[in-house]
């Protein structure tokens, strides 16, 4: 399946755009998505940390990703 991943903050700079498309196997997990992105964009690994959000909630590494989910990369937050 193809997943469109939203990017914010420094992740947008790393991906070179506000979204990036990733091909994943069905039943892929958040950890699979991270591995795939880190392979393509090694700079992700240099961040202090980053999270994946699925449907507007922080996702666990073991969480499954479905084709129609809204998926986003959340680099370290710095609001306020």
């Amino acid at each position: 399946m193809e997943i469109t991943v939203l990017a914010f903050g420094i992740a947008k700079d790393i991906f070179g755009g506000a979204t990036v498309t990733v091909g994943l196997t069905n039943n892929a997990t958040t950890a699979d998505l991270k591995a795939s992105l880190e392979e393509k964009y090694p700079k992700l690994k240099h961040l202090a940390s980053y999270m994946v959000a699925v449907n507007n909630e922080y996702a666990e590494d073991s969480g499954l990703i479905a084709e129609r989910d809204e998926v986003a990369i959340i680099p370290p937050v710095s609001g306020g």
Partner: protein, 139 residues
């Protein structure tokens, strides 16, 4: 138990926030106003840029305000956050809390701003004379 959570691209309005938070049964209101500082670790800051994942940011702020209501006897909670480019002295965030007694208002207000900085998907970029940096991105 009322909350008002908003993310704006236009300048935040302090008066509108204090008007909303006022109520006859309150004995105290605590207001936190975040402002853009002109220096970070000795380097002059020219301006800041804020970006939010709006829908999720509102969700996460709701969780924090809900926790504040569970932890303290507060009456109303307001969180307004700004996005876009902000100049020195401008206001990225206003948090207002009303309660019957001041201790709850102070404690809840501090809890909300401290938690917001940890979990709410909003990002800040600092612009210096010689470059720019996403705050907290790198160790």
């Amino acid at each position: 138990m009322q909350t008002q959570i908003e993310i704006h691209t236009a300048p935040l309005n302090i008066q509108a926030c204090t008007d909303w938070i006022m109520s006859p049964d309150s004995g105290g209101i605590d207001v936190f106003i975040g402002t853009v500082r002109n220096v970070t670790k000795g380097r002059a800051v020219l301006k800041l840029e804020f970006e939010a994942y709006n829908k999720m940011a509102i969700n996460e702020i709701k969780k924090i305000t809900k926790q504040a209501f569970e932890k303290w006897p507060v009456q109303k909670v307001l969180v307004h956050h700004r996005t876009g480019t902000l100049q020195i002295g401008e206001i990225p965030v206003i948090i207002a809390v009303s309660a019957a007694h001041r201790a709850a208002a102070f404690d809840a207000c501090r809890y909300i701003i401290d938690s917001l900085k940890q979990t709410v998907p909003i990002w800040k970029k600092e612009f210096f004379e010689d470059g720019e940096v996403w705050v907290a991105a790198h160790p």
